[in-house]
């Protein structure tokens, strides 16, 4: 098998690493790469939507698995879909939403693969009610370092099942999976929009009434200071029933709304997003939004950024850092105040920041979501000072018993990682059994001490 040696980066365009990239066309190709590629370690990669270095393997090999993307079977009675790991959420929605089924756990982009969704145990705006990817995953097939194909489920190879969910691709390559899709009556969402004047108001509203909504997320103005600290717009929604649609639309309840697909054609200069432009944008958004109820198509509610291809290019050549932390209920308010104050005091401007409540944790050994609140931000990469700023946030989060999301992480310190993820020891034990020579590794895994340098 030939490979291409090239610079690879995550969606944040930081960091960038030189990797040997393989691209299997068939499952036999993939098995041969795992068995015989001369590079000492490998990591599977799908659509490259993790932000940092999770799907990078500097100086080693990356398996670009995007051609192993076939739908295998679907049971229209039970809504169970079997598909290969590189099938994207966008494809699943294209094929199955017109048939009345929705992906049960959807993050802020639909351009992710099923394999990636499992490896990061992704969550969506419905985590407070429906949990993470784990909740809709029945089982999967894992190709291990020894070349075995193991079926992993809650009953069979259960340790490996829970280590692979959220295991960032370090247990092997996911070949195919069976998922439980969710029946919906329409392709539309009934969205309730509501302003909250400060952090206490938004936390209170979530605690009061998130349970009335399947989906809940708040856009938060993280440059607001003082009495307005944490001012937000809550966007909460349920799938629309047939009678929620205007009469004219009821004949075709799953009809997709045609939208203009926009694109950022080239990388913008790094100064495009600066504290002034971002403050203007955030203040504008807060004042433009009105409270009230609307019926919108699901793309508009779930994936506003997917409308702009390559939106990450607005951050310029230097790229951006995504940051997402979770804080337990008891310390969430204090932790969020400290994080927001740290950001606004150093004038670190997050173009978009979102806050949402998390429900029960999954049993994934390294899964991110745990009960409480999660805050997600993106910051331009301005140099080592940006990394130092995130390190300060990491310490605040760790002190309050929180953790950060590995799918977005590019710079977490290994000691803080150990504090944040108590499952680490158990993960290592499971990995050692199935991959003692660390055939599967990544830039992130080595940085965090999840895998040794082979």
């Amino acid at each position: 098998m030939r490979h291409v040696s090239r610079a690879v980066s995550g969606w944040g365009n930081y960091p960038v690493a030189q990797c040997d990239v393989y691209r299997p066309e068939t499952r036999a190709d993939l098995a041969e790469i795992v068995a015989r590629a001369p590079q000492s370690s490998l990591i599977a990669r799908g659509l490259g939507r993790s932000y940092g270095d999770a799907a990078l393997n500097a100086g080693h090999a990356v398996i670009q698995s995007d051609r192993l993307d076939r739908l295998l079977s679907f049971d229209p009675e039970g809504g169970v879909l079997a598909c290969e790991a590189a099938v994207s959420l966008a494809e699943i929605l294209d094929v199955f939403l017109p048939r009345g089924f929705f992906f049960p756990v959807t993050p802020g982009t639909k351009f992710i693969t099923v394999g990636g969704a499992i490896a990061a145990d992704v969550h969506g705006k419905n985590h407070h009610r429906s949990g993470s990817m784990a909740a809709s995953l029945l089982d999967f097939q894992l190709l291990t370092a020894r070349g075995d194909v193991l079926t992993c489920s809650r009953e069979e190879n259960a340790d490996l099942f829970w280590a692979t969910l959220g295991g960032m691709g370090l247990t092997g390559v996911i070949l195919e999976a069976r998922l439980q899709l969710r029946p919906v009556d329409t392709a539309a969402m009934v969205v309730d929009q509501e302003k909250a004047r400060d952090l206490d108001a938004v936390l209170e509203r979530c605690a009061e009434s998130d349970d009335d909504y399947d989906y809940s997320v708040s856009w938060i103005d993280c440059l607001a200071r003082g009495r307005s600290l944490g001012r937000s717009i809550l966007l909460r929604a349920n799938h629309a029933a047939l009678e929620d649609l205007p009469a004219s639309a009821r004949a075709e309840p799953y009809a997709p709304q045609r939208r203009l697909q926009l694109s950022v054609p080239f990388t913008l200069p790094s100064f495009t997003l600066n504290p002034v432009s971002v403050r203007a944008f955030n203040t504008g958004i807060y004042h433009v939004h009105r409270s009230g109820r609307t019926v919108r198509d699901c793309d508009g509610y779930f994936y506003p950024l997917d409308r702009v291809h390559h939106w990450n290019r607005i951050y310029g050549r230097r790229g951006m850092l995504q940051y997402q932390c979770a804080l337990p209920h008891e310390s969430a308010r204090q932790g969020l105040v400290e994080v927001l104050e740290e950001l606004s005091s150093t004038r670190r401007a997050s173009f978009l920041a979102v806050l949402k409540s998390f429900g029960a944790a999954s049993e994934g050994v390294l899964s991110f979501p745990r009960p409480g609140f999660t805050l997600a931000l993106d910051l331009p990469y301005t140099g080592p000072d940006a990394l130092a700023a995130l390190a300060r946030l990491d310490r605040i989060v760790a002190r309050h018993g929180g953790n950060v999301y590995l799918a977005k992480d590019a710079c977490l310190d290994p000691q803080l990682f150990r504090d944040m993820y108590p499952g680490l020891e158990r993960f290592r034990e499971i990995k050692d059994k199935v991959d003692p020579e660390h055939r599967f590794s990544s830039s992130q895994a080595r940085r965090l001490g999840l895998a040794e340098a082979p």
């Binding site: 030939r2 291409v4 691209r23 068939t26 036999a28 076939r70 079977s73 290969e84 094929v95």
Partner: protein, 242 residues
Amino acid sequence: MSETALVVGASSGIGRAIAAALAASGTDLVLAGRNQEELARTAADLALRHGVKTSVRPFEALDFDSHPVLIGSCERLDGVMLCHGQQFEQEEAQADPQLARRMIDVNFTSAVSVLEAAARRLEAQGSGWISALSSVAGDRGRPSNYLYGASKGGLSTYLQGLDARLAGAGVRVLTVKPGFVDTGLTYGRPGLFLVASPEKVAADVVRALRRGRSVVYSPWFWWGILAILRAIPTRIFRRLSL
């Protein structure tokens, strides 16, 4: 009643992409190839996505006796798309006559074997289409790949004749001449340029079939590149290291 097409070499690369494009246009498919497991997965995928009927058949290019059996095994047959092929490096094939022969047998002899059987059936039926993946490499022999090029050039000539033979019988014949395509065969090879995606080639093929064309270059600009290449006088051509 929807059309049924046989796609040979459908488990990966351009064949898989053309099968997908045909399925998207509502054509039922019989997929043939060597790797039955891969074919079965592709067949399941296309049936689920596009709601067409799909089935799979084994195919061995060099098992000539099996070819008429394959054609006969299709209950209904409106089109045949040949996508199988083999490419060895020129130096290897020059050094090893077995490799050269194998490449010619797979790319040319086996194609003729399958398509003669298909032509008989479609000619008798009085309708349908036949198409095969040839290559721009067949348009002019170059030192860097004339063995592969000759196998494809022979195929192009064969298809040209078949087209003329079947025109009166209501059967269309399309010769496809792709340039460099981003498949497992080309991935990681140095010195490629203007590389097209398999989906782009597949879209060009389906469009050319619909329009009843006899030859399509894909992407189209290879027509111009090859027109220039063919026009270079031999004396100059010899001195170019192509």
